[in-house]
Every structure is written in structure tokens, then in C-alpha cells.
């Protein structure tokens, strides 16, 4: 009976897509970003992080807010100011323009994006100077440079190296020894 009552409910992006708790993702993102040799020159005096959510998905927006809250509590680059903002994705092209215009150093996709949407963002970000990441590890094969998954009860770092090169992300070899490279 209970299943029958619940089945008609619309299933938005489930927290199941967020396999690593968001506070830990924020900490990991900040730590891993330091291994990007291009982050500091890209960021300048202020590390600007943009968390992008799906405009039609309330859960996506909520998860973006949770990540912003968590990132507000960690330091990405010591000695640099940082600014964390969230915004809805309008188009991939507009996102790429915003990254250039506002000198975004890190862009994070929230949950709720379908594979074609991720691919569109990936294509738009190619050639732009930005570290991209996603709350959903399923987005990494689609083109997010960085994501976090759980394997055997522990967090793992997923890296899309091809996309990293296309976005001028230079990850240290010492980091790559710890990550799972996603083709």
C-alpha cells in the first residue's frame, strides 16, 4: 500500500546521486583544487567558485545551496579571498561566457543534469580556463573534470584527464596517484 501511495510521486534528483556527503565533497574539492597547478594564476586574488544548478530541479538547487554552505566553511587557497555563488544554468554557452566574464576559477555542477546537458556543458567549457567538478560522479565520464564517488565505503576521486587538458587544468602527478582516471 505504501509503495502504491509513493509511486506516483515525481522522483527528482535523488540524494543517491550524491554519493559522498556534501560537506566532505566540499573539503575534498578544496584540497584537490590545490593540486591544480593553474588554479592560483587563474584565480588571481580571489578564488571564485560558481555552483550551477538545474533550473527545473528543486533538488538540484537545494544541493547547490548545501555545497555553497559547505564551501563557505573551507579555504580553497590559503591567502586568497574566495567567493562562492550559485546560479541556475541557462545555456552552456552562457555559462562559458559567464566563466570568462567573471573569472570563475572553479565551476561545480549540482545534481539533476541529464547526460546530454552535461555533454553540452563539457563542449562549451573546452578551451576555457576553468576547473569543473560535479556533485554527481556520474557526470565525470560525461565531461566534468572532477567528481567524488564512494567505493568500498570510502570516498574516491574521479578525474577526466582529457577534459582537464581541454580546460587548462594541470593536476599534479602526486594527486594522480590517488585518483581514478575516468576515460
Amino acid at each position: 500500500v505504501g509503495l502504491g501511495l509513493l509511486l506516483p510521486l515525481r522522483a527528482a534528483a535523488l540524494d543517491d546521486d550524491v554519493r559522498v556527503p556534501i560537506p566532505l565533497q566540499a573539503t575534498l574539492l578544496a584540497k584537490v583544487a590545490r593540486y591544480d597547478g593553474k588554479l592560483a594564476p587563474r584565480a588571481g586574488t580571489t578564488v571564485r567558485v560558481l555552483v550551477v544548478y538545474h533550473s527545473d530541479d528543486e533538488r538540484s538547487r537545494a544541493n547547490a545551496g548545501r555545497l555553497k554552505t559547505a564551501l563557505d566553511g573551507v579555504t580553497v587557497l590559503q591567502g586568497r579571498a574566495q567567493q562562492i555563488e550559485t546560479s541556475a544554468l541557462t545555456t552552456a554557452t552562457a555559462l562559458a561566457e559567464q566563466i570568462d566574464r567573471e573569472h570563475i576559477a572553479i565551476v561545480v555542477l549540482s545534481t539533476g543534469f541529464a547526460p546530454p546537458e552535461v555533454r553540452a556543458v563539457t563542449a562549451a567549457l573546452a578551451g576555457h580556463d576553468v576547473l569543473s567538478a560535479s556533485l554527481d560522479p556520474g557526470h565525470v565520464p560525461g565531461g566534468a573534470v572532477l567528481g567524488f564517488d564512494v567505493a568500498e565505503g570510502k570516498p574516491t576521486i574521479l578525474v577526466n584527464l582529457g577534459q582537464a587538458r581541454r580546460q587548462n587544468v594541470q593536476l599534479a602527478a602526486s594527486l594522480l596517484a590517488l585518483v581514478k582516471v575516468v576515460p
Binding site: D36, A40, T46, Q83, L171
Partner: protein, 749 residues
């Protein structure tokens, strides 16, 4: 890239210094910054850090879900948790839940009586409880059944081990979300998803030369009607014969009924002597299968298993008889749906159903073990059956959308049917006499609520309670309160109060025999209340845990002789047969206090190729603490145990070598009337394991493991003599297999 990172040594030093002095919770000061200026050309580029210790430490952070039914890090969970990964299971040749607990877990320990295993935690082990004081879950689905509360930790756990992703061990009372049985803790075995179990698997393994295990399984992802799906399944067969052991001899003497030398063997002379070579009756046959299907937001799991095991040393059956056995069968199904109708609301529903039955068959030629008149022997049979189905509904609301304040409400309703009987089949006349039988249909429900709050960045609280209403015993409330403080950099301190209960099992509640046993009509739940203080500290890639605990156990079920008035009343109303002079029943009478400390350490080095860990538990037991605190010795329980392990991964094409040890202190022997009570000596077990890929054949891997036990004595008395007798001056105990060799192959395709 390494050269680029090192190209500016002064800045590298600066980066390292900055990393060291970095505060844990720096506030972002740029929230009100004006529109972004272009990057300053003169901004100094910081070199990427070469030291990955801190990051390695974060990657070793356990992510758990059993403590609060939500994904969270172990350091913030409202309980002491310890996780064992499948990688650790592989590195150390682990083949059973018991081995995983002994060699790799914190705070729990198991003891092995030939091929049957019991579990204890923090100094408490209830001998003969069939695992009913710990709640065992497979992906959140309870394994403990409602007839006897049983859960197994040996091969009869009956889940293909290759399917295990990780094992969460939650120490301490856990009824706040799970209800009955979670007194010592909760063990949640999490199975792999299709990403971790992609492709096919063939497994062939043996504990040389006595056992064989063969399995086949696989997993994959698919898309169907616009939804992502995945399936994982595996089936295996485990069979064992031996290894042979020698027991006895114990000169028991004459049969109390016939007055002649008692028969112990199924064949051969009746010489009144128990013992000899056990080479036929020690066997195990355990086929099992598990499947997990997910499609969109719907998940289904099915598990079926059978465990048939010899009982060669029971003094109620023929010695080493091939007809003596225990048989457990399980069939479980679990269907879940999870949705997020609102951004701040998760809801879920779980429907489940289980079938379980048990039978113990003990043929004997000894008339004294049979009913009156069965002079040629009999076949004793005990059977129990249970079936249960339930529905669990759950909702979690995130009040402000930032996970700072969440409320979870849950409902778990269940219908159960249990039945049992025991009987004696006359070996000569084939007449079957049923001496006890009962059946009951019961309803039970639990309602639980959990409130989490993170009012400050460094402070979080978790308050919860579960009310269980059960036709078997009435009502019981299980609260929990936990406060977690980020004390200093990478350190958390937890203070926890928690309660748990165990509903009386159906056997305890309903069993009766008019010749000697009175049903326990007023039996209530056993209850444990515990406080804990836990410190967890991460130091780079090293993690430490230190915890103090104290738990008070009340209403423990014990058998007691009924009073003269109770006896007279039972005879008068027909519950006991006329002329009965004494009888027994179960009562909630025992209480005890347990307190002590847990220490745990885990870490890695050399780019995580070297991994190591150790745990230690010290506990002390005291009885009747409300009156006089007196030392208590629970049979088989030890207040000192722990383990250590180290492994090294040479490279993807090379072997991974692992070494592990477990130790346990002295333990009082069970079921002995010797004075003083015999004590099994401390035990130390060592294990060395190598595993890796085999050359030439892609996908083929091997595993070899060698285990040795230093002491040959277990804390389990064996044989019919439990007191000194002529020629028998020392309690015989079940021997421990001194050496075990495991070899196996796995082919992945």
C-alpha cells in the same frame, strides 16, 4: 607535472607552511566582494603540494549509513562505527564474517565452537544466543529471524563474499532506528553495485583439503524505457568435509535407563566411552544466492540460502554420526522505492518478506536420551519456522535546505508467524511422539523519529527515539542522544547515550513441555543502556579512535526453576503433567554492568600502497551492580581482545601481501562444573595472505592464505563429562584447528 610543481622551491616551502598552519574552519571573507576584477598578473602561483598525506587521510574517511540511515562520515555519525572494505577482506584472505570481525573490526570478537561461531562485543558475549544480541543487516535488511533471533557469522551467513562492498560495524545499542536485537551493535553488510561488480566472475576456492567453494556471478548496467538500471547477482556452493579431529575418550559409564554401558556410536559396541576420530560427521553444505536489481528509483533484492551442517560432537546424538545435522533455510525479498517529491523532502518505502526454517536432527542409540520406552534409541528432532512480512515508510525533511536541521520520521509494521515442535521418533517402532509444539501469529510495529541539528559549524546533535509495540512483549521505547563536536583540527569528540532491547524470541516466549518446562507468559524484553565518549583524530593519513564506554544490561533472560506455588498452579491447570516435581521457565532476571575502552588505529603510507591498522578492546564486567559490584565471568567472553594488520601493494601486476593477527585474552569455559571454573588460555592467530593477478591469462587472479592458531584450546567444553571423574581430571574443550590453508582462483571477464 612533478617538475613543474617543484620548479619554485621557495614557493613550495611557502605552500607547505601555509598548509600546516591552515585553520580548520576559515570563514570565507569574500561573500560581499565587489564584481570580479581580472586576475592580478602579479599573483604568485602556488606550487601544488607534493605531500598527499592529508588528502590520503580524507580518502580513508569511512562513509557510513547504518548509524542514522543516512550517508555521513564516520567521524560525524552518532555512534562508534568501524568499516571493513572488500579490499581489506581480499588483502587478508577473509572468507567469513567472523574472520572479518576478528582480524579487522573494532570492539567485536567471535569465538568458534568447531564450525559454529558466537559473537561478543566490548566484553559481553551471551553464550548460546545464536547471535540474537547483535542485529545483522544485508543492505539494511535484517537477517535475524523472529523464531530464535538467530544470525550466523560463519559460513552459514550464506552470502557470496565477492558481493560484499564493505561491512559497517556499529558498536553499542542501536534500537533507536532498528528495533529488536541491536544490543551489542549493528553489522550492516553492504553489497556491491553494478559499477563495482561489472562483468562476470567465476570463483573456485578451497580450505585445503577439506572444503570447496565455487561461485558464479556478474553485474551490469542497462537502460530501459528512459531509466537507468543495474543488476548484480551471484550464486555459490560451499561444501566441507572435516578436517578430522580427535575427541575424548571420556568414560561416561552406564545408560541411566538401561543400566548397561551407554551407546555413543551409531554403529559398533556400546562401551560407555565417548570420543574418537571425527572424520565423517563434520560436514557443511551451504548453497546461497543473492540478486540485486535496480531500475530508476525502484530496487529489489532477493536472497536464498540453505545451510546444512553436521553436529558430530553433540552428546545427545550419536558420536560422529552422519545423520546428526542442523539445517537452516532462508528466502528473503526486499522491494524499495525512494523519491524526492520536494527539494527538502525525501521519502522512501520498503516492503519486505522473509521465510525461514530450522531443523536439528539427532539420532541416538542411547535410551537415556529418548523418551520412556524407547529403549532401542530414537531420533530427536527440533524444528522451528518463521515467516514475516512488513512495510517500512520513511520521510526525511531538511528544514532550511542546508542539511543543518533535518527530521526523519519512520514507521515499520510487521506481521509474523512462528511455529515450532520437537519430537522423538522411536528407532524400533518408528512411532513419532511430539513433546512440544506451539505456533503464534503476531503483529508488531515501530515508530521512530530522529532529529539532527547543526546549530554551529563545529557542533552537531542527533536525537532520536523509537517506540516498538509488539504482541509478544508489549511496548518499549528506545531513545538515543548524541552530540558531536569538532574539537580541534581534524578531531571530533562524541558523547552518546543510547538504549537497545531484544524482544524475547519465540522459543523463549512460547516453548513448553508438560514434563519439565513452563511457557514464559510474562517475559519482557532485555534492555541495555549505554554511554560513550569517543575521540577521533585524523593526522594526515593516520586515523585514531579512542572511546570509553559503559553499558548496563537489565532483564537478561535466564532459565530458572519455578517456585512451588507456580508448580502447583501449573499442574492444577494442566500446563504441567501430574506428578511433576520440578520444572523450569525463562525469566528476565540477570543484570550486569560492562565498561571499558576501545582503541583503534588505521593508516597508510607510501602513496597508500602500505596499509595498516590495529584495534584493542579492554572491558570489565560486573554483576548485580545495584546491590554489590562483583566481578562477573560470562562463559566464553573475554575482556581483552584486538587485532592488527598490515599489507603492501607492490603494483598492479605484482602480489599484494598481507599479514594479520588477532588475539583474545583468557575466557571462562562454558558448561563445565569443574572447580575452579576452567579458563581457556589466551589465543593468538596469525594469517599471511598473498593475492594478485596470474600472468598470461588476463582476468585470472589468485589468493593464498595461511593461518595458524597458537593455542589449541577453545572455551567450549566438549563431551558428556563436565565434572571430575575417575581418569578425567581436566575439562576437555573443543580443539582449535591449528593450521588452515586457503587457496583460490577468481576469473573476471
Amino acid at each position: 607535472m612533478r617538475q613543474a610543481a617543484l620548479s619554485s622551491p621557495p614557493l613550495l616551502v611557502l605552500g607547505v607552511v601555509l598548509a600546516v598552519v591552515e585553520p580548520a574552519r576559515a570563514e570565507a571573507a569574500a561573500a560581499s566582494l565587489p564584481a570580479a576584477p581580472p586576475p592580478a598578473a602579479e599573483s604568485p602561483p602556488l606550487a601544488a603540494p607534493e605531500d598527499t598525506g592529508e588528502l590520503s587521510g580524507l580518502l580513508d574517511e569511512d562513509i557510513v549509513s547504518a548509524a542514522s540511515m543516512a550517508t555521513e562520515t564516520a567521524s560525524t555519525a552518532p555512534a562508534t562505527t568501524w568499516t571493513i572494505s572488500s579490499d581489506e577482506l581480499r588483502r587478508h584472505g577473509v572468507t567469513t564474517l567472523a574472520e572479518a570481525i576478528n582480524f579487522l573490526a573494532l570492539g567485536m570478537v567471535t569465538e568458534r565452537d568447531l564450525d559454529f561461531v558466537e559473537l561478543g562485543a566490548r566484553g559481553v558475549l551471551i553464550n548460546g544466543d545464536y547471535g540474537s544480541h547483535v542485529l545483522v543487516l544485508i543492505d539494511g535488511h535484517a537477517v535475524n529471524e523472529p523464531w530464535d533471533g538467530a544470525a550466523y557469522f560463519d559460513r552459514a551467513f550464506a552470502l557470496p563474499f565477492e558481493l560484499i562492498d564493505h561491512i559497517e560495524v556499529v558498536l553499542g545499542p542501536g534500537s533507536v532506528l532498528y528495533g529488536s536485537n541491536a544490543m551489542l551493535g549493528v553489522i550492516n553488510v553492504v553489497t556491491k553495485d553494478a559499477r563495482a561488480f561489472a562483468g562476470g566472475r567465476l570463483v573456485l576456492e578451497s580450505e585445503l583439503p577439506s572444503s570447496i567453494r565455487a561461485g558464479v556471478g556478474g553485474g551490469g548496467e542497462f537502460g530501459l524505457w528512459g531509466q537507468r538500471g543495474q543488476v548484480v547477482a551471484m550464486a555459490e556452493y560451499f561444501g566441507a568435509q572435516g578436517p578430522a579431529i580427535v575427541l575424548g575418550p571420556q568414560d561416561y559409564g552406564v545408560d541411566a535407563v538401561t543400566g548397561t554401558r551407554r551407546c555413543f556410536d551409531a554403529e559398533g559396541p556400546c562401551d560407555g566411552v565417548w570420543g574418537g576420530l571425527v572424520d565423517r560427521g563434520r560436514f557443511q553444505e551451504i548453497p546461497s544466492a543473492f540478486a540485486h536489481l535496480r531500475w530508476g528509483d525502484v530496487e529489489a533484492r532477493v536472497r536464498g540460502a540453505l545451510a546444512r551442517r553436521g553436529v558430530p560432537s553433540s552428546t545427545y546424538g550419536d558420536f560422529d554420526g552422519t545423520g546428526n545435522y542442523e539445517l537452516d533455510r532462508w528466502l528473503a525479498a526486499d522491494l524499495r522505492y525512494h523519491a524526492a517529491p520536494l527539494a527538502q523532502l525525501d521519502v522512501g518505502a520498503r516492503a519486505y518478506g522473509d521465510l525461514y526454517d530450522y531443523v536439528e536432527v539427532l539420532p541416538t542409540r542411547a535410551a537415556e536420551n529418548c523418551l520412556e520406552g524407547q529403549l532401542g534409541g530414537c531420533v530427536y528432532t527440533l524444528s522451528g519456522r518463521s515467516a514475516w512480512t512488513g512495510l517500512e515508510l520513511q520521510g526525511r525533511f531538511d528544514w532550511f535546505g542546508d542539511a543543518a536541521y533535518t527530521t526523519m520520521l519512520g514507521f515499520d509494521g510487521r506481521l509474523r508467524a512462528v511455529s515450532s515442535d520437537d519430537s522423538y521418533l522411536d528407532a524400533m517402532s518408528q512411532e513419532l511422539v511430539v513433546t512440544s509444539a506451539y505456533e503464534a501469529n503476531e503483529a508488531a510495529m515501530g515508530v521512530y523519529v530522529e532529529q539532527t541539528a547543526r546549530p554551529l559549524g563545529w557542533l552537531s546533535a542527533n536525537l532520536g527515539a523509537r517506540l516498538d509495540l509488539d504482541q509478544r512483549f508489549g511496548a518499549h521505547l528506545s531513545p538515543r542522544a548524541a552530540v558531536v563536536v569538532d574539537a580541534w583540527q581534524d578531531a571530533t569528540v562524541k558523547a552518546i547515550y543510547a538504549e537497545a532491547f531484544r524482544a524475547p524470541d519465540a522459543f523463549e516466549r512460547y516453548y513448553s513441555d508438560p514434563t519439565w518446562w513452563l511457557a514464559s507468559d510474562n517475559l519482557g524484553p532485555e534492555v541495555v543502556r549505554a554511554v560513550e565518549l569517543v575521540l577521533q583524530q585524523r593526522l594526515g593519513a593516520q586515523r585514531l579512535l579512542a572511546g570509553l564506554f559503559a553499558s548496563h544490561w537489565q532483564g537478561l533472560v535466564r532459565e530458572e526453576e519455578v517456585t512451588a506455588d507456580e508448580l502447583a498452579a501449573a499442574v492444577a491447570d494442566g500446563r504441567l503433567a501430574p506428578g511433576i516435581e520440578y520444572a523450569y521457565t525463562y525469566r528476565n532476571t540477570a543484570s550486569m554492568l560492562s565498561y571499558g575502552l576501545n582503541l583503534g588505529f588505521e593508516g597508510s603510507a607510501l602513496s597508500r600502497q602500505l596499509r595498516y591498522g590495529a584495534t584493542l578492546t579492554l572491558a570489565r564486567l560486573q554483576a548485580d551492580w545495584l546491590d554489590v559490584l562483583e566481578p562477573l565471568e560470562l562463559p566464553v567472553a573475554s575482556g581483552l581482545f584486538g587485532n592488527a594488520h598490515v599489507s603492501y601493494l607492490f603494483g598492479p601486476s605484482w602480489p599484494t601481501l598481507g599479514a594479520a593477527l588477532r588475539f583474545v585474552g583468557p575466557r571462562p569455559v562454558d558448561a563445565s562444573d569443574f572447580e575452579p571454573l576452567p579458563v581457556a588460555p589466551p589465543q593468538l592467530e596469525l594469517r599471511f595472505t598473498a593475492h594478485g593477478p596470474l600472468p598470461l591469462v588476463q582476468g585470472l587472479a589468485y589468493r593464498i592464505s595461511l593461518s595458524g592458531a597458537f593455542s589449541s584450546e577453545s572455551p567450549y567444553a566438549v563431551g558428556p563429562l563436565s565434572a571430575p571423574a575417575e581418569g578425567y581430571t581436566r575439562q576437555e574443550t573443543m580443539p582449535v584447528d591449528p593450521l588452515r590453508v586457503l587457496a583460490g582462483l577468481q576469473y573476471s571477464f
